[in-house]
């Protein structure tokens, strides 16, 4: 009879719950991907000498300070339907305003929800070194290709 109590006790100790086993490996909220093209030859990528890239009233985005680059990926504000970015090149600041609708997409237990950005549009609040902007897609739901092209 005593043996039963031991086995019962073993069962009781086994009841310690299972821990979280999921790790988040899904694609999260996509960044905005911008590619820079030559204004005179619109099929040619053209590097831009960026001093810094920063959202209004915020610090500069990592990786894009004092760099010559032909494409950037920048995050959009998750708590607002618009994001204002300043793109500074050779001490000339060009301000862009991105507006969008946020659509929540369920991913998994560990990732929760991400956003897709719909009805995406861009307006130039100031125009210095950027000569033209072309929106490639109104729906930002992945980071596989450029969402807008900037000509300079």
């Amino acid at each position: 009879m005593k043996n039963y109590y031991y086995i019962l006790l073993l069962f009781l100790t086994l009841s310690v719950g299972c821990d979280k086993d999921d790790i988040c490996i899904e694609e999260l909220t996509p960044n905005l991907i911008i590619r820079f093209y030559d204004y005179d030859n619109t099929n040619e990528l053209k590097k831009v000498d960026l001093d810094s890239v920063y959202a209004k009233d915020m610090v500069a985005v990592d990786n894009y300070t004092s760099i010559s680059i032909d494409s950037i990926a920048i995050p959009l504000d998750l708590n607002s339907d618009f994001t204002i970015y300043n793109l500074s090149s050779n001490n000339e600041v060009n301000q862009l305003e991105f507006t969008y609708a946020r659509e929540e997409i369920y991913l998994s237990r560990s990732c929760g929800y991400k956003y897709n950005f719909e009805e995406f549009t861009t307006t130039q609040n100031s125009s210095t070194w950027i000569k033209d902007i072309q929106i490639i897609t109104n729906l930002i739901n992945n980071e596989e290709a450029a969402h807008i092209h900037i000509f300079h």
Binding site: Y4, F11, L14, S15, L28, T29, S110, G112, Y113, Y115
Partner: protein, 231 residues
Amino acid sequence: MKKLLIFIFFINIFSLQLQAQEEKTVDTVSKKKYIALRVGADISKPIISQFNKDLKSIELIGDFRFSKNYYAAVELGFTDKTTSEDYLTFTTKGSYVKLGVNYNAYENWKGMNNDIFLGMRYGFSHFSQTLNNYTPNAFGTYFEGNEIEVNSEFKNLSAHWLEFVFGMKVETLKNIFLGASISFNQMLTVKEPENFKNHYVPGFNRVFSNNVGIGFNYSISYLIPFTKKAK
């Protein structure tokens, strides 16, 4: 996995029928002495509910011995559980029923009345899922999402599953049994909420990513002495 469980389930039922056929040749007097009804409740769930404000649950159990080694078993329960994950919080509320059989593999000595059993259950739950809040998830920390209160309730969800149960019941006082069991659950079908997922189902417990689950049960039950033992 699912096919295997269904296979085992049918084997169980098949062997049950064989058993029933064998029984026919046995005289009714000796058959009658096996008939017994036990009712009880899970004792761990109300205790856990006392200490964990995010979990309220209750479960009633019963089994009916209809032959030497076989019991028809039933569990009825209700669960109200709030689960917090890194980027969301949800509340699951609903009731469930489990029906099945236990096979007692333990050969009792004369006068003893204990079980070490294997069993199968079919489980069904009707429940609602409330997404309380979520925090939109993005790479990096440049823009971090604020927590958003949603409180949207997904009603009339349901789930069907199979359980493979292993456990024991020990008669500690006359007609009073203490039991413990572990169940391995395999989801069959589940009605999912839109743009969300059932990560917890009453009775099934946490739904792991491969649609399996695990359950524990600690019970106290009382054997109702409603039939006179035939000598």
